[in-house]
């Protein structure tokens, strides 16, 4: 049991995410107070912290069978008491998507912000309907919610790119030196590749576990890139020569 816990903790993905969280915390603490209260910095930090804590809690649930069984039973799942998909669904597929949408919204001009608001409301309503109606129970795989989540993120990133090629403020800057550009690019790749991965994973684990595992590793890699780009945002004030000032429309 102990060796299993250690193995889980020292799995390269878990280890890397926790290391990234430590780096993120150090950079965030080092930021001037004025910057710490700015959405541009606290929101990526919140997402980073939330993601890593959720990953760790996910590992914890795998070693606390009684807790997992009790939650599954509460949700009506007595068939697969070992599953902790309910937590994965809430944390990554629902709250995670909403947090990333808020992050995308930060970079858009006021006229486009409302579209993201509509997407957030629409996503919440659809997720609630699909779960309450029993079409996609919380404790089982949720491909429809996952697809909707990936699509709203793709549309949000698309809006950012449209703004990037049309808005005067973005046209004055070099996109390769904007953290927002890298955030949107990585988010687009992560969510779309993860969607493919999550859809094919169950099948591949049965028919070709090696390929399934490889796909899972790609997914891990993409999540690490996402966390990396969030740290890059938090640390951007320390690298003024590398990044340009963002033409953002945030409130602070």
């Amino acid at each position: 049991m102990v060796s299993q816990i250690l193995q889980a903790i020292f799995h390269w993905f878990t280890f890397s995410t926790n290391l990234l969280l430590i780096i993120g915390v150090i950079f965030f603490i080092k930021l001037p107070k004025k910057k710490r209260v700015n959405t541009k910095y606290w929101l990526p930090f919140l997402i980073l912290t939330f993601t890593v804590i959720c990953e760790d809690f996910g590992i914890y649930t795998n070693f606390n069978f009684e807790f997992k069984k009790a939650v599954n039973a509460y949700l009506g799942n007595t068939e697969y008491p070992k599953f902790n998909l309910w937590f994965f669904n809430i944390a990554r597929r629902q709250i995670g998507v909403i947090l990333y949408l808020v992050l995308i919204q930060y970079w858009l001009q006021p006229a486009h912000k409302k579209y993201i608001n509509w997407m957030i409301y629409g996503f919440i309503i659809l997720a609630v309907i699909l779960q309450v109606s029993g079409i996609e129970p919380l404790y089982f795989n949720q491909p429809i919610i996952s697809a909707i989540g990936a699509n709203v993120i793709l549309i949000g990133s698309g809006l950012y790119f449209i703004e990037m090629i049309t808005h005067d403020q973005y046209l004055e800057s070099n996109p390769l030196r904007l953290v927002s550009f890298w955030q949107m690019t990585i988010l687009m790749f992560t969510f779309s590749l993860n969607y493919i991965s999550s859809v094919a994973l169950m099948y591949l684990y049965i028919v070709n576990p090696v390929l399934g595992k490889a796909l899972q590793e790609i997914s891990y890699g993409m999540w690490l890139c996402t966390l990396g780009v969030l740290i890059m945002t938090i640390s951007s004030p320390f690298l003024p020569g590398l990044f340009e000032k963002e033409p953002s429309y945030g409130t602070n």
């Binding site: 973005y170 046209l171 004055e172 493919i196 070709n208 390929l211």
Partner: protein, 251 residues
């Protein structure tokens, strides 16, 4: 090939295809951005050069206007004063000679005043309120019509380009009123409202049909000039009802 193997290949190719599509999308977005950035810079350069050209034209026009004014002053005012001085100096009466000396002093004062107007430095030293006052006084003293100025604020701190354009537009609007409208009264009002600071130039002259295109070319020019400094030019007029021009200043 077995069906399972087929599925695996589909998954691999779908993943690669998606990744390729997104890479292409991002790269093309960067290229489009670069292209638009270049176009935008070109457009900005063009606007800048047009702005400079307009300012140069305005400076020339103001100089031309000033030269005409100086010519008129030399002929009607200083010439007359010097002739009068000459007559007085021709007299043997000491009081006439003293009067001639006074007139000569007056002529020297006038020449000094005119010499200051020969370059555009006066534009730097004068504010719009003072300029309007000067123009209205000139119109009134020459006997064209009655004038009045109502100012809710002083336009003191204006950039030189904005000042030049405003001076020229006001000058041209007043010239148009005198030349074409034969008004009894011209009123200029400096007023501030929700739109920002505005200058109203109103005359009670014969007016014209402002919807007709033939009357629009000069007005179009003034409108364009106000736009170059980020302001607005609006004109309302009707036959027999005078003309009202509203200049909205840039914020």
């Amino acid at each position: 090939m077995e069906p399972t193997e087929d599925h695996i290949y589909v998954i691999i190719f779908a993943t690669l295809f998606l990744a390729g599509m997104m890479s292409t999308f991002v790269i093309s977005m960067v290229f489009i951005h670069r292209q638009r950035q270049a176009q935008n810079r070109q457009k900005m350069d063009q606007i800048k050069s047009e702005h400079e050209k307009t300012l140069l034209n305005i400076e020339n026009e103001i100089q031309q206007e000033t030269l005409t004014h100086i010519g008129r002053e030399l002929h009607d005012n200083i010439g007359q004063l010097l002739s009068l001085a000459k007559l007085n100096f021709g007299s043997i009466k000491p009081e006439k000679i003293a009067e001639g000396r006074d007139i000569l002093g007056q002529a020297i004062q006038e020449v000094r005043g005119l010499s200051k107007q020969l370059n555009l430095d006066w534009v730097e030293s004068i504010n719009i309120n003072e300029f309007i006052e000067q123009q209205l006084t000139r119109i009134k003293t020459t006997g064209y019509c009655e004038t009045s100025l109502e100012a809710e604020f002083d336009l003191i701190e204006l950039p030189k380009d904005q000042k030049l354009v405003l001076i020229r537009v006001i000058q041209e609007s007043l010239n148009n009123a005198i030349k074409h409208a034969s008004p009894d009264k011209i009123l200029i009002k400096l007023h501030e409202n929700g739109k920002g600071k505005q200058i109203f130039i109103k005359d009670d002259g014969r007016g014209f049909d402002s919807t007709q295109q033939a009357s629009g070319s000069g007005m179009f020019n003034l409108k364009k000039r106000m736009e170059t400094i980020g302001g607005e030019f609006n004109l309302t007029s009707a036959v027999g009802k005078g003309t009202e021009i509203t200049l909205t200043l840039p914020n």
